[in-house]
Amino acid sequence: MASNNGGPWGGSGGDDRGGQNGGGDKRPGGQRPNDPQIPDIDQIVKKGQEQLRVLMGGGGGNGKGGGPDMPKITRGTLGLGLLAIVALWLFASFYRVDTSEESVELLFGKYSSTGTEGLNFAPWPVVTAEILPVTRENTEDIGVGRGSRSDEGLMLTGDENIVDIDFQVVWNISDSRKFLFNIAGPRETIRAVSESAMREIIARSLLAPILNRDRGVIAQELETLIQQTLDGYESGINIVRVNFDKADPPREVIDAFRQVQAAEQTRDTLEKRADAYANQVVAEARGTAAQLLEQAEGYRAQVVNQAEGEASRFIAVYEEYAKAPEVTRKRLYLETLERVLGSVDKVIIDPSADGGQGVVPYLPLNELRNNSNSGGGN
């Protein structure tokens, strides 16, 4: 990594992110140290620093006059010293840049070029290099883990409801030069801009769409708005994506929202039950209707067949009758009466016979009935 440190200018070891060590004055925007050096190299560097300090008399700090404070030097030590200086200089001037990184080279503090992956050369101390992880995705969580009271996650919607929102902004560096030189405190800026953008969008929207279907749209809009604002700062930051983790009602009112969901279920149940009832009775009615119609058809067949049978029977009889009406008529009459009278209880009284007038037509109707009921004639 930033292996071009090690001179008197980088007195602190210079393994800051970006390894800035030009100028030797205070740097604004404290950057976290990362990429700790391998201790061996560190020691070598330290040793080199000491030797250098000895050889150069501690000069080189700006404004700091260095008086000559040389020990006695022999030719051998001088040669060795020179060799060591050259080696150290080379060691300090070459640096490597990873695939995921980019370096920005400064010539006396002025931007000179951007180094890409591989071994890069920045002749110390004229050129200094700062390495930035450009493709690495950084995340800022906003609204996550809010306390019990209103915090950054609670936002006011356009219809003055409150919604609890968590989201995550994923970003990387799109332009290392702008990122480095245009903006102080990039993470704080991203956080503030993101929160502001989200609140602006939420304030434009109503509560219900946020909770339900518009998340994708909001995430899209949010990404655009954050990116626009950051581009306005020429920050060199690229918003990779916005993860919309949570958009819920605040926990203080979540029960009421659950009740609504339960009510929706109830409504559904009621409707489904009614549908079931409807299906049942309508099907039954269709069955009844079919039954009625079939019965009617059956009746029709029965009646017509019966009529046709009866008619054809009559016609057959009539045709025979027509051939010999007198005889047939008599025969039919007699035959019928024979059958009828044959099975009927009969009392024959001849009023014209002698003493016929004297017969009192006393009819013990009940008796007759009993007789007939008890099974037959006398």
């Binding site: 000069g59 260095g66 339960a262 309508v282 009625l292």
Partner: protein, 290 residues
Amino acid sequence: MRKTTYILPVLAVILAAVFSSVFIVDEREKALVLQFGEVKNVITDPGLAFKIPLVQEVVKYDDRILPLDTQPLEVTPADDRRLVVDAFARWRIQDPVQFRRAVGAGGIETARPRLERILNAELREVLGSVDSGAVLSADRAALMNRILVQSRARASALGVEIVDVRIKRADLPEQNLEATFERMRAEREREAADEIARGNEAAQRVRALADRTVVETVSVAQRDSDITRGEADAKRNAIFAEAFGRDPEFFAFYRSLTAYENSLKGSNTTLVMPPDSEFFDYFKTDTPGK
């Protein structure tokens, strides 16, 4: 050897002079060269720069966009509701000479509170001139722009350019929170009641429609069935009329006989009759005809 004892100190002095007169202005910085407090030179381009050692000194300012976060501020919009507004600004030093004059030796740390005061004043003024609805909802972007323009004008006196002003949060005060929650709950309860009522309504509608369909279906079937039965009866009559119409008198005779036979069937009938019907013509005499 004696030469070197002279040369070396001289060399060192020269080196020291060079190092203390040369300084580096970083890409992130602007520098002022001051001579006993008086601005002699402004260096805005990064790179190597020079000054006279001991006499002149260098002051460097950050040239990047700098953050400014204000404390939450309670403002009163035109409709007298109170709002808690949390804003931030982004700014940069545009004119280092003016900046130096305005803030003196304190630099950025001195400038921050002054900028914050400007920002707060403009926030109060702009947000106080509109209704709270505008702040809370749609017009926020326009308001932020107004605040930006006004505060930019005032901050330029400090040699500072305000790059952006944004309202981070515009909320009702904490005391209103519970009331808002209560209202949200009430709205949800209304919605739940509405859902159930609508469910009942729909169910009733479906049931009523079903009942109606049942009645309709059955009655249509009943009608059709009666029509069919009527047709059947009509046909029966037609068949009979056609058949019996050939000889109505014989039909009457024949049908009467059939009826006698059917109605007087069985042993539950007792007939009291004189023996003078046609049936008994030969009952009394072998030559009827009297």
